[in-house]
């Protein structure tokens, strides 16, 4: 009995971690943090960098908010969250400038703007302020991963379409000398617009549609399943009725 309870708890923890990937994806489902999702996703590496920074801030602020949730008077909780988050963002900005200077230059003003990324304030308010520290940490990390995933997918399409290559080692200290993972003749793939502002909107719009499309397909499949179940039940009920009637008739006879 105790064992199953434990398992259930672990299952729910896993679900807590993974819910941000698809079901509650911050970008594709909740449309949170669209500004950075559009602005810094010109390349995979910049997306990855932004995602990592958000994971750090989100996990950190979730932990702190959860830790002090009982001491914060209800009426001033939002101002406190804003202070906590901006502290984390300032710290992250300083750290990035010290340890990943190229990334700092690439992300530019979008590092301070993590403050106003509603994903972070949203999680602090709706989850961390009501849950235990470890749950809040898992939630922050998972949601951050979901955000990172979405950004990297967008970044992949944009970088590939605009340059025909996926570079590495440019903004993040991944390699001694920068190179590229995929590299196709750049004359074929050099649709510059995808790397620039218009491409951001187009790619996210298209990906969002595809995401919705898959969701709709899933929903329809479930709907059909449900319909089939209902039909089945109806049929069974009818069958039973008929059997009963037959039995009745047989008894009479």
């Amino acid at each position: 009995m105790a064992k199953t309870k434990n398992m259930k708890k672990e299952m729910s923890r896993l679900a807590n971690l993974t819910k941000g990937f698809f079901k509650e994806n911050p970008v594709f489902v909740f449309l949170l943090g669209l500004c950075p999702a559009l602005a810094v996703t010109g390349t995979v590496e910049a997306s990855l960098g932004m995602g990592l920074l958000v994971i750090f801030v989100l996990t950190g602020s979730n932990v702190v908010v959860s830790l002090i949730r009982k001491w914060i008077p209800h009426q001033i909780r939002v101002p406190s969250y804003i202070v906590i988050i901006s502290t984390f963002v300032t710290i992250v900005g300083l750290l990035t400038e010290a340890y990943a200077y190229a990334l700092h230059g690439e992300l530019g003003i979008f590092i301070p703007l993590i403050v106003v990324n509603c994903l972070i304030l949203g999680r602090a308010e709706s989850y961390a302020s009501k849950n235990k520290v470890h749950d809040a940490a898992i939630d922050g990390f998972g949601m951050g991963l979901g955000f990172l995933g979405a950004l990297v997918v967008i970044g992949f399409f944009r970088e590939f379409l605009s340059t025909g290559a996926i570079a590495y080692g440019v903004f993040l200290p991944l390699a001694e000398t920068p190179g590229s993972i995929i590299n196709i003749d750049s004359y074929v793939f050099s649709m510059d617009a995808f790397g620039q502002a218009p491409g951001g909107f187009l790619v996210i719009g298209l990906l969002l549609g595809i995401f919705n499309f898959v969701a709709i397909l899933k929903r329809n499949k479930k709907e059909r399943e449900r319909q089939r179940m209902i039909e089945e039940k109806k049929r069974q009920a009818l069958e039973r009725k008929r059997q009963k009637a037959q039995e009745k008739a047989g008894a009479k006879a």
Partner: protein
């Protein structure tokens, strides 16, 4: 009371959060300060390091701030063992379209290593076009003879990108001006080895003889220190430029423009003339051995004859007159004179025969249009043999060069007037001075 307590609690909590947050930020700042500074410095230097192979990050002593110039900073670039590789200049420019930061790298030979636009708020498409089409053409140019002619060859982009490139060009000009002070400049070095205190030079007259160009070398106050003559001589199939210098009375000496690709024996040959340095040029003959030495001696003899036969006039219009000989007989005179034409100063060679009769003229240097210049030679040719050319005759020469223009208002007038000024000065000089002898 409870309300007040509640309020106190709220304030206390926020106060604590504020203080903790301030502490945390300050702590991170202190921990990372050094690294961030270093990163910022390296980022600035990265573009310099890229230009010079094997360069290491410069010390503070090697970075010099510059005032009163579009160039703001000069960095001496060294390799790992401290040898100087070259100099990088960071210049800033501003036009109404925005700001631009340009890095110019110049190596020890005075060659442009690279020009980069590091940062710009000017219209990106123009900046890109300058990056793509203009900057590559600057690489490997010697700073003593920068050539910007390509700007007119780049079709389509030139008009719109011109303003941005003008900005870049000003920075390059300032950079090479500064570089000239301490970089070895082969031309200035050559003049300096003959005439100390040289700071500038200008072309005076061009020739198509053994010597190609007569230059005035000047000091700080624009006083002419000496006359230098460039001689392009064929040495073992290579054209080597020698420079010989004279002052009013003496042959100062000869040297060679020490560019990298000059054959060593062509440089060594100069020493054969050491004995003649600073000697009176009257009757100077060269007694030397060797093929190259003889080539040089022949050219120098020709130059020496010219210098001997030349009489300085230094009047407003006329510079000097060269007496032309056939053996010992005077056959004529060539005057060099200059006068402001329509677009530029026209330098003229005016020829008179031994009796002072006009024999024609040619343009030595001119920026005026060939459309006016060529007909004028022909029209003044009609007065050949005259010892005087009147004002009306001269006006007749240029009046109908352009038949479509209204009377007396042709574009040839400006050019014609300058030509006439020199010719009449030459004729007057003959009648006043030479004819009396």
């Amino acid at each position: 009371m409870a309300n007040l307590l509640e309020k106190m609690k709220v304030a206390a909590v926020l106060l604590i959060i504020g203080a903790v947050s301030g502490l945390a930020i300050f702590g991170t700042h202190t921990l990372t300060e050094e690294r961030r500074e270093e990163n910022r410095r390296m980022a600035q230097l990265a573009i310099y390091l890229e230009m010079f192979d094997g360069a290491v990050a410069p010390d503070d002593d090697d970075i010099v701030a510059i005032a009163d110039s579009s160039v703001k900073e000069m960095v001496t670039m060294r390799d790992g063992s401290g040898n100087i590789l070259g100099y990088a200049f960071r210049g800033e420019g501003r036009i109404s379209h925005g700001d631009i930061t340009v890095i110019v790298g110049i190596d020890l030979d005075g060659t442009i290593v690279d020009v980069k636009i590091a940062d710009s708020t000017q219209t990106p498409s123009y900046v890109q076009s300058v990056r793509d089409h203009y900057l590559p053409k600057l690489i490997d140019q010697p700073i003593v003879a920068m050539n910007y002619d390509f700007t007119s060859e780049i079709a389509g982009t030139s008009a719109s990108a011109g303003m941005t490139f003008g900005n870049v060009r000003r920075i390059i000009e300032d950079a090479r001006f500064i570089a000239g002070d301490f970089l070895s400049d082969p031309i200035m070095d050559a003049y300096e080895s003959l005439v100390p205190d040289v700071v500038s030079f200008e072309t005076f007259v061009v020739f198509d003889r053994a010597f190609k160009e007569e230059l005035l070398v000047k000091d700080d106050d624009e006083n002419t220190l000496a006359y230098a003559y460039l001689m392009d001589l064929d040495i073992d199939g290579e054209t080597v430029t020698y420079v010989a210098a004279y002052d009013e009375t003496e042959f100062i000496g000869i040297t060679v423009f020490a560019f990298d690709d000059v054959p060593q024996d062509a440089i060594d040959a100069v020493w054969a003339f050491e004995g003649y340095w600073n000697s009176d040029f009257n009757g100077l003959t060269f007694d030397v051995d060797g093929e190259i030495e003889n080539t040089i001696a022949a050219a120098l003899t020709e130059l020496n004859t010219f210098v001997e036969n030349r009489t300085w006039i230094n009047a407003n219009t006329l510079d000097y007159v060269e007496t032309l000989y056939d053996g010992d007989t005077v056959t004529g005179y060539m005057f060099i004179g200059r006068s402001q034409g329509l677009m530029s100063i026209n330098v003229l060679e005016v020829y008179l025969d031994e009796t002072g009769a006009f024999q024609g003229f040619t343009y030595n240097q001119s920026g005026d249009s060939l459309n006016w210049r060529t007909p004028l030679i022909e029209r003044f040719g009609a007065y050949e043999g005259q010892t005087e050319i009147s004002q009306s005759e001269a006006e007749a020469a240029w009046d109908d060069v352009n038949p479509n223009a209204p009377d007396g208002e042709t574009s040839a007038t400006g050019t014609g007037q300058s030509v006439y000024a020199v010719i009449s000065a030459a004729l007057d000089y003959y009648s006043d001075t030479l004819g009396d002898e």
